[in-house]
Amino acid sequence: MSDGYDLIVVGTGFASSFFLKHYLEHSSSGKKVLVLERGKFHPYVDRLALKKGKKQLQITKAGKTYTTDFGKIWVFDPNFGGSSNCWTGCTPRFLPNDFKLKTLYGVGQDWPISYDDLDPYYDQVEKIMSISGPDHTPFPRRSSYPLPAHQLSTVDRLLQEKYGDLYISQPTARASRAVGERGACCSSSVCDLCPVNAKFTIENGLGYLYSDPRVTIKYNAQVIGMDSVQGIVKSVTYVEEGTTRTAKGETIVLGANAIFNAHILLNSGDSNPHTGTGICEQVGVFVRMYYKDLDNLGGSSIISANGYMMYDGDHRKDHAACLIESFNTPFIRNEAGKWRKLSIFKFIYEDLPQKDNKVALSDNELSPDIIFNGPSEYVNKGIARLKQDVNNYFGFLPIEKLEIDNYSQKTEFHICSTTKMGQSRENSVIDENMIHHEYRNVVVVGSSAYPSITPANPTLTLSALSLRAAEKYLS
């Protein structure tokens, strides 16, 4: 293009960056790419200096970017690298059955693609992120993880003995060995910003993309809408340092999070009734188990294991699947000589997107309004039977006392499902290749695409989807 860009990418988080990686590797040197990042670039060294009290930084927080009257919070990092700046680095794959929830269990919505469709891209992302993981997993894999698994704790080992491949060392982007610019995870347990840079981030893993001579990146540039003619988007409108500007593009990739992908489409006049609806995330509940005579020692990394005993099965016809996380932060039991006769587990439930929970336009074109009336009954039914499930699956351990939180966490940090993918506009916003049903030159990437969210962490899957979307688009 003479006066525009071949590609305009919105955002610099996982979804955008993995798309951009594939695009740059498979495009000619003459291409022009514009990246619009709403936030600033706060390098790792600056963020670390802030944590050490050696530097002052004003980092914009997610809560300043949207409005809501519904109490629930939605957490992300609206800056360069997106949520790679605050994620914990948990990277389980989804299970094959997660993609056909409606067919198998009669609830929610099927994905328009299968596990097998995504499998090769999972492999690629795991290599790029240098994932540490075990040899055996509840999901099929073609090859070994790039790095060895983290060590299980004494309690984890008992659970693995009992449940085999349904209880595994957590696959994670917290490197178990030093790799590239990254150090080895040493269980410091403050993963939002790893003190030894062990966690994969966009900056330490894909930051080089943004130095490519084909790429122009603008910071403090929030995209607020797109202009289209007969189903083709011609330009995007963005606000840069308070000034409204436009940029012309052949292809637009919306790689903001699930709030802002929907917001940009709504601001653009998207008439699809599903756009913005279904906002949800998983629901987590903490459980503490106090043991009579069992020390919980020797685990590595912040979360040492994942339990799949309550994840897949016919129970999903009735209530939500649950993934278990075994925590390994330096918590103690405040009783002499029993300092570590304690486990903390988090039980994480999938939610079903509901149309009344949604992203909506507000009076401020920069800031959407979020309407959220609570998670589905499907989740509540799962949580209601938590005590029974804990007794069933953990009852063989020497538990002296059990404490189940009677409330759920305010957030699981995984915003999903506002621009769902599907076969047609009757039930979705984008197609199986993540192209908008109406705007055929707009690719919408990220977890906003999820028709169902599963209890598993979404980042690995959304990154794999971006690689796949880029490949499909270019082909």
Partner: protein, 150 residues
């Protein structure tokens, strides 16, 4: 002497308890409660006596509790819990209070040489500096680094 009704008597008792609670809360700020809590819970250990004050001062100076999501509400809950716990066998959300109390005691112990000395209760415990994984990474005392292949 005028006899007071049962209802009035209960009211007076409740008022007296409330007054004692309010008075105690005014007298004991969060830091004082933390010191008392540590002295009580760790009475079985030999701890260098100035360790407690050093801990609360450094925690205050470095806004440690705010960083641990110990907001104003949580602090008040801990203060209230500490006082009520010595008066009543149980109260609403006592289990949460006990968890927060464990967090506070754990943070203190992580700020000492207790875990470096492999939890040896015969050794005198010294304050070594507020636990901060950014100042002292890799110091989770229960991790594989300290218990390889347990």
């Amino acid at each position: 002497m005028k006899k007071i009704s049962r209802r009035k008597f209960i009211k007076l008792i409740l008022l007296a308890v409330a007054a004692v609670l309010a008075g105690t809360l005014v007298i004991f700020d969060f830091n004082k409660i933390v010191v008392q809590m540590l002295k009580k819970d760790l009475a079985h250990l030999k701890i260098n006596p100035d360790s407690f004050e050093k801990f609360v001062k450094e925690a205050d100076d470095k806004r440690h509790w705010a960083g641990k999501f110990f907001d104003w509400k949580k602090k008040q809950f801990v203060r209230f819990g500490f006082i009520v716990d010595s008066l009543l066998p149980s109260f609403p959300y006592k289990y949460k209070y006990v968890q927060y109390r464990s967090d506070i005691v754990g943070d203190f112990l992580l700020s000492t040489d207790f875990f470096m000395n492999r939890m040896d209760s015969n050794k005198t415990i010294n304050y070594i500096g507020l636990y901060n994984p950014y100042a002292r990474p890799c110091s989770n005392p229960f991790s594989n680094l300290y218990y390889p292949e347990t």
